[in-house]
């Protein structure tokens, strides 16, 4: 296959994936889903910090994977409904290239650590702060989840209580992309 043909095929795949994502958004009817946010379609702001286990967490190092970036807090009840599902997805879709990352917006890291242990999370969690919140368009309500594609681009934002099936469908669309 020539280089032009390969480029054309890639463009076709991306258009198809975009169309599928659009259909998912239109079909969902969820108020929580928003695609019109400023970060969607742009490169995900870099995240470089230590996770709760003291390991380096660098968003750029996950390039080539689909990243589910979850902003949460221990006082956020809907977040705690989502987190076990995200753990399950990490197990289920990890081999296909999913990486879940949690960012706790708690004021006290001890509370976040305690809940992570209780929920037996299988993905890295780091503490957030207002600077990171502002980089991601202002984390002014939780839960807040971003889907980032394999090229490091933000593809979807979910604010508030979200239908997990809708989120999962969009995740699968991104995982199917090359």
């Amino acid at each position: 296959m020539s280089a032009d043909a390969r480029t054309l095929t890639t463009i076709r795949r991306q258009l198809l994936a975009g169309l599928l994502l659009g259909v998912c958004f239109a079909a969902s009817g969820e108020r929580a889903v928003s695609v019109a946010e400023s970060l969607v379609g742009k490169k995900a702001p870099e995240i470089t910090r230590k996770d709760l286990n003291g390991r380096n967490l660098n968003l750029a190092s996950f390039r080539g994977k689909v990243v589910l970036l979850d902003f949460w807090a221990t006082w956020c009840a809907p977040c705690q409904v989502e987190m076990p599902a995200f753990s399950q997805w990490q197990r289920q879709y990890g081999p296909q290239g999913l990486q879940v990352i949690g960012i706790s917006m708690d004021d006290d890291p001890a509370l976040a650590r305690k809940l992570c242990t209780k929920l037996k999370l299988n993905y890295p969690v780091a503490m957030g702060d207002e600077k990171l919140g502002e980089l991601y368009g202002g984390v002014l309500g939780l839960p807040l989840t971003y889907l980032i594609d394999r090229n490091g681009r933000v593809r979807a934002k979910f604010q508030g209580e979200t239908d997990l099936k809708t989120l999962q469908k969009q995740l699968e669309v991104l995982l199917a992309e090359p």
Binding site: W75, A77, M105, D107, G133, L140, G141, L142, G160, E161
Partner: protein
């Protein structure tokens, strides 16, 4: 005499049937009274809509309320209602202590507005306990800002005045 006994027995039977039906409906549909400190427990008469608060804060010379954020300090640092103060998370004992200390010198008739906006209204763990504390302390003019979704959607995105910083 016998008629009275029959009437009393009949009343008891009717009450028992009503009680049983009420319990069954609750069990079947999962209805129950909101927990005493949930946001849903705050009387609707004590709620303030965002546009009302904004109007109050913009009005010249009006009786402006003391506006206190009783949720996450990190969220407060990113954006808070202009002129509002951080007063501790209502879901935490130390947060309630901070709130108690803040309002201690105020007259019990002081006009106070509490808000959080961390989560969808029915899931907010902070405003309910904070409201209950002020009520228990005897404050008689306390309102709670009704933020249906969160502060971002219901205040910041509407263009109402905000400030940053702790």
């Amino acid at each position: 005499m016998r008629l009275s006994l029959v009437r009393i027995a009949g009343t008891i039977a009717v009450l028992a049937i009503v009680f049983a039906a009420h319990t069954r409906i609750h069990a079947q549909f999962g209805w129950s009274a909101p927990p005493p400190e949930s946001a849903a427990s705050i009387p609707t008469t004590q709620l303030l809509q965002p546009e009302e608060l904004n109007r109050l804060l913009q009005a010249q010379g009006a009786n402006k309320p003391l506006v206190l954020q009783v949720g996450s300090h990190m969220l407060f640092a990113q954006a808070h209602i202009a002129g509002s103060e951080y007063a501790g998370a209502g879901s935490q004992p130390e947060g309630l202590k901070q709130l108690q200390d803040r309002v201690a010198p105020l007259p019990r008739k002081a006009f106070i507005v509490l808000y959080c906006g961390c989560c969808p209204w029915s899931r907010c763990p902070n405003v309910g306990p904070a409201f209950k504390l002020l009520r228990d302390l005897g404050f008689t003019n306390v309102k709670v800002l009704y933020l249906a979704n969160n502060l971002g959607t219901d205040w910041v995105d509407k263009g109402y005045p905000v400030e940053r910083g702790r």
